[in-house]
């Protein structure tokens, strides 16, 4: 049940490049990544694409298909009509190395800027006692496969490259939320989230949630709760007054 599909693939290096047209065979059950591989095997042997698992679990094959950030290996050809032209481009937010391969080191940089899990000095490894309900919330965030499509789609840096220094992106603001919700983490995450990692730039328009292949509710379950925690710390006069009167300094609202 094969047919010939029309593809437009962005080709180029170091930012310069253009969309190239291809006509390529498609068979039943195939995904976009299969077609890219067929192009490599037949018409464009030097076409660069990053992939690994072909199972939606490694997060390598992030690309933009008809303008939407998608995993190439999880986008079925059957979701397109046979006469549709399918446009495949690299992620826009990150510098391109070659063709569909982008340099995602921005994300590793941001990951390093977040202080790691910081347990209280008095609790030794092996002494942690946590109940399932205490960690359940953050387990959702651990499903992340680091495809970085959320950071790619976020308009804060996609449309405003100059914000990259001030904004960690939804992936890492979610990481901060995960740590802040951790029963044994004592580091200050709230001020840092707002002042250093740019939580205030997020205007909760939910594109990160829309593109996440793991269907993590990034905005509802990580970013908005984190915003509320920041309000506790910085913008709520009653909570502030309470902390002055009762001298609840230090770990603040970690209940």
């Amino acid at each position: 049940m094969g047919y010939k599909a029309k593809f437009r693939v962005w080709r180029g290096e170091g930012g310069e490049g253009k969309l190239e047209d291809f006509t390529v065979e498609v068979n039943e059950g195939e995904v976009v990544l299969d077609i890219i591989h067929r192009l490599q095997a037949t018409q464009a042997p030097d076409l660069a694409v990053r992939w690994n698992c072909k199972a939606g679990k490694c997060g390598s094959c992030s690309m933009e298909i008809n303008g939407k950030p998608r995993l190439g290996c999880m986008t079925r050809m059957s979701t397109f009509t046979e006469d549709e032209t399918i446009t495949v481009t690299p992620m826009r937010t990150f510098p391109v190395i070659k063709d569909l391969v982008t340099d995602v080191s921005f994300n590793y940089q941001k990951a390093r800027e977040i202080p790691s899990f910081t347990p209280p000095a008095s609790v030794k490894p092996g002494e942690y006692r946590m109940q399932q309900i205490d960690v359940e919330r953050s387990q959702e965030f651990r499903k992340c496969i680091e495809c970085f499509m959320c950071n790619n789609v976020c308009h804060v840096i996609r449309d405003h490259e100059e914000n990259k220094t001030n904004f960690a992106g939804p992936r890492f603001l979610m990481r901060i939320a995960e740590l802040d919700m951790h029963p044994y983490d004592v580091a200050d995450r709230k001020d840092a989230a707002q002042e250093e990692h740019g939580l205030g730039y997020c205007n909760i328009t939910k594109c990160c949630t829309e593109v996440c292949p793991e269907h993590i509710k990034i905005t509802d379950n990580a970013l908005i709760p984190m915003k509320e925690r920041v309000v506790d710390r910085k913008y709520d006069p009653l909570v502030w007054l309470g902390s002055k009167i009762f001298k609840r300094s230090g770990s603040g609202s970690k209940g």
Binding site: N66, R92, D180, N203, K254
Partner: protein, 264 residues
């Protein structure tokens, strides 16, 4: 077959793919912002008209946009909250003006409405992976948008407003249990209160701010309940917006004598 960064020689310049199209999306991405714009504008137009419309009471029905009525000069005896009208004769403007700021502020700073109007009115962004037209962006990190952080105070006020609408509905139920208007008000009061309870600030206050759920079993259960509602926050925001508009219009039509059948 794959090519990694290490295989390819370092390109001369590291920059993003230069693609001049604003978006390569082929679906109707403009529908969401357009529909949002139309619905919200219609709501604003109606609300503005309703605030200045004086037929807000048709015993025992009280139009939600004018409730509570707090001024002696403009509120019929029966329309007052437990007969209470703290403002004397000097206040002669529409009663809705007094309280309007609270529900309006609640919705304006609501996380769902923010998403919707940032997309539909400010085009920031109009849709995902569609470039926004603004050259600079600081989001909610500065004045004035940093003020969105007061949302929880509007939430406290919204609880009170929700109770008042429930009071109006119960009062109608007692005085005219068979009236359609009674059931319109009851339905609206339920939806408004569900919307209020599904608020993200409510979710945070019940237990979202805690890190040890296991030490607060009651609050944890409340959080579980609010979280379920919260997952439907967008739907509740829209449905309750239509219901409050519908209930308000209904009462005014009765008050104006346009709806006159026995069970109105």
């Amino acid at each position: 077959m794959t090519q990694t960064a290490a295989d390819s020689p370092a390109p001369a310049r590291r920059q993003r793919a230069q693609i001049k199209e604003r978006t390569l999306r082929t679906d109707q991405w403009w529908r969401y912002p357009l529909v949002t714009f139309i619905i919200f504008t219609a709501f604003l137009v109606y609300a503005t008209w309703a605030i200045f419309d004086n037929s807000f009471f048709a015993a025992p029905y009280h139009a939600p946009f004018a409730s509570p009525c707090l001024a002696e000069a403009v509120c019929p005896e029966d329309a007052r909250l437990f007969g209470w009208a703290p403002l004397g004769d000097w206040y002669t403007w529409p009663p809705g003006l007094l309280i309007l700021g609270l529900p309006a502020g609640f919705r304006f700073t609501c996380y769902y409405y923010r998403k919707a109007y940032y997309r539909g009115f400010w085009l920031s962004p109009p849709a995902c992976a569609v470039n926004e037209p603004h050259s600079k962006y600081t989001g909610e990190s500065r004045f004035p948008l940093i003020l969105q952080n007061i949302h929880r105070y509007f939430f406290y006020a919204a609880i009170v407003i929700g109770l008042i609408l429930a009071y109006d509905a119960v009062k109608a139920l007692i005085e005219k249990p068979g009236g359609i208007g009674t059931w319109v008000l009851i339905g609206n009061a339920i939806l408004i209160n569900l919307y209020t309870l599904s608020c993200h600030s409510c979710r945070h206050i019940t237990a979202g701010r805690l890190n040890h759920f296991s030490k607060h079993p009651v609050r944890y259960r409340a959080w579980g309940f609010v979280s379920k509602l919260n997952a439907k926050h967008q739907e509740l925001a829209l449905i309750s917006m239509f219901s409050v508009m519908g209930a308000d219009l209904y009462v005014r039509l009765v008050a104006k004598g346009i709806l006159t059948f026995t069970f109105a």
